[in-house]
């Protein structure tokens, strides 16, 4: 399985909400996408599976095993969604049909793609529910979503995504809406299932800690475009982009650093994320950047690979090497 995005952009009328998004994902790889709210992370994955909201259009190429998804008719896309790309969404409380039993919702994907009969689908769904470690799966199989806790609902969401056996799993902030205690359970489950089925994974989060624990490579987004991409470990230890540095600096520390009596104050990045489609010329981050210079203003910096496998959109990246 290989996924390659080439200059993917998303427009709403005259406004550009997402621009110049490119990356490659090979078989079994894990990619984390980091960004604040408004960075366009969710739009990106919706564009990949072709479920952009009404009125938005995508440009560029999304190549799944060489086939451009953006050029496919809707009927062909329906065959690929679910069967080849599975998605898990952020809000488990609203992601499930409140009027349908959860067992049915899992089985539906199986019947739709694999055309097996209801009894076989039911058996397989039950097995899946158990596999995502739903406590007392046999009994809960007939439950309605509102009878489950948030963590349990997310397990159902995972089961639904895994049912047709996709090669690529996209998880859009799967634990943001969950309690911290449940969060690690769900993330562990996800990691195990992905490794076990040898799926590729795209994990979206605003939480660098989660990205650090789950992904090999990482892509940092800001205000609708990519700012940095590279090995996760490298990006988190030595970012080549002032925005990424700012994100890392804003992480709270549990213990004071060596030589300090108490933990330093939380650093923030001053200013606000510019709203989509209303960007001034030049680097999107320039107004908030501590390292901005005059040359950052006239035109948006182009994406460049500073090291093999590590790209940035910043003219001052060398200063951070």
């Amino acid at each position: 399985m290989s996924l390659a995005l080439e200059n993917l952009a998303v427009h709403l009328g005259a406004r550009t909400l997402l621009a110049d998004m490119s990356f490659r994902l090979e078989n079994g790889a894990t990619l984390g996408i980091v960004g604040e709210s408004g960075s366009g992370k969710s739009l990106l994955v919706l564009a990949i599976i072709g479920l952009l909201p009404e009125g938005m259009r995508a440009e560029g190429r999304v190549l799944l095993d060489g086939e451009d998804l953006l050029a496919l008719p809707e009927s062909a896309l329906c065959h690929r969604r679910g069967a080849r790309i599975g998605m898990i969404f952020q809000e488990p409380s609203t992601a499930l049909n409140p009027a349908m039993r959860i067992g049915e919702q899992i089985a539906e994907g199986l019947i739709w793609h694999r055309r097996i009969d209801a009894a076989a689908a039911r058996a397989e769904s039950l097995r899946l529910l158990d596999h995502v470690r739903m406590p007392d799966a046999a009994r809960r199989f007939a439950f309605y979503p509102h009878e489950l806790s948030g963590g349990q609902r997310q397990r159902v969401g995972i089961a639904i995504a895994l049912a047709p056996g996709p090669e690529l799993l996209i998880a859009d902030e799967p634990t943001t809406a969950l309690d911290v205690t449940v969060e690690s359970e769900i993330l562990d489950l996800l990691a195990e299932l992905v490794a076990e089925a040898r799926m590729s994974l795209i994990l979206i989060s605003h939480d660098l800690g989660i990205i650090a624990g789950m992904t090999e490579r990482c892509l940092v987004m800001y205000a609708g475009t990519r700012f940095e991409e590279g090995p996760t470990e490298r990006i988190l230890s030595k970012p080549l982009n002032p925005y990424t540095s700012g994100l890392l600096a804003a992480l709270p520390e549990r213990a004071p650093a060596a030589g300090e009596r108490r933990a330093r104050r939380l650093a923030g990045i001053p200013g606000n994320v510019p709203s989509a489609g209303r960007l001034s010329p030049g680097c999107r981050f320039a107004d908030r950047c501590a390292m901005a210079i005059a040359a950052c203003r006239p035109a948006e910096p182009a994406w460049r690979a500073l090291e093999p496998g590590h790209g940035v959109r910043c003219i001052r990246a060398e200063a951070l090497l």
Binding site: C78, A95, W112
Partner: protein
């Protein structure tokens, strides 16, 4: 769940009783002496007293009320002043027309509304959507009895397909009976369809914006399947609510439409009873019509529990 059902049932009965009290007050107490109204101001005192006794008007009001309610529970609704036959028989005959008529109208209007409303929502802001919305607005604005008149004009006077009035009754065969109900049912159904179409469209649009529709699409379901299998069942709740509220208008419409088509139904009976001052028939027919509305709302409450699993309390 059981407690919920019992609560609703209790509510239903209380509302029925309250309505019966209102009817009794409005029809039997306020207008004054029914016997005097019937016989006129020049009636002789002994004829008046005889009629009083015959109608049971010499008893205390509360006893008259209880006699009525008690009789209703056992199936004895008194005797019609005008026709001289048991009211229960009269009502049963008329009900055999009005009930199928109402149900037919609901069937037509709901099917039409669901079809048009879902289609309009699926093609939002496009030509078909605007056409449906326009149709809905017109449907709401047009009086049902006028549609009836136009239908008679078109089909009877003009094309001579259907007879202009009267009804064959069920004994002449179900097909012929239903044929006699089609035009009146359409007249009743069109304004209702207008209202329900708007509600359906709004409800489906609301549901389509929900996250679980996105989950269904992400699973690989096409637009059509996601719409009819996931969106519509969740959109039914507001539709059912409005349908319940519409029964009130359906009952009123039945009175009007039955008069237009000269159908021997409950509505026409109510009207005739009023013009003939047949209070015994009037009292019972009005009670029945009100009961139909109250019952419809009760059924709506029950249907809620089926449609929305969240409303059922699981222990």
């Amino acid at each position: 769940m059981l407690r919920l059902l019992l609560g609703r049932l209790g509510s239903f009965i209380v509302t029925l009783l309250a309505a019966s009290v209102v009817i009794f007050i409005l029809l039997d107490i306020l207008p004054g002496d029914p016997a005097a109204i019937l016989l006129g101001t020049s009636a002789r005192p002994d004829t008046l007293a005889a009629l009083h006794h015959q109608l049971g008007l010499d008893r205390p009001l509360i006893l008259q009320y209880l006699a009525w309610i008690g009789g209703a529970l056992t199936g004895d609704l008194g005797t019609s002043i005008t026709y001289g036959v048991p009211v229960s028989g009269l009502i049963a005959d008329r009900l055999a027309l009005t009930l199928p008529l109402a149900l037919l109208a609901i069937l037509i209007s709901t099917s039409l509304a669901l079809l048009l409303g879902v289609t309009a929502a699926a093609h939002r802001d496009r030509a078909i959507d605007r056409a449906v919305q326009g149709f809905a607005q017109l449907g709401i604005a047009v009086p049902d009895f006028w549609i009836g008149l136009l239908l008679i004009l078109l089909f009877s006077t003009g094309l001579n397909w259907f007879s202009a009035g009267g009804w064959s009754g069920w004994s002449a065969g179900a097909g012929k009976a239903l044929a006699g109900l089609i035009l009146p049912a359409i007249a009743l159904a069109l304004p209702q369809a207008g209202v329900l179409t708007r509600v359906t469209r709004a409800a489906v649009l609301d549901v389509l914006a929900e996250d679980f529709i996105r989950t269904a699409r992400a699973k690989g379901l096409d637009r059509h399947t996601a719409l009819w299998r996931h969106a519509l069942p969740n959109a039914l709740l507001p539709v059912v609510t409005i349908l319940g509220l519409q029964v009130s208008f359906l009952v009123a419409g039945a009175v009007l439409v039955e008069n237009v088509f000269s159908l021997p139904g409950l509505g026409r009976l109510a009207y005739l009873a009023l013009s003939q001052r047949d209070l015994i028939v009037l009292r019972n027919v009005v009670m029945l019509l009100a009961a139909m509305v109250i019952l419809a709302n009760f059924i709506v409450d029950l249907v809620y529990l089926i449609l929305d699993p969240r409303l059922r309390a699981r222990s």
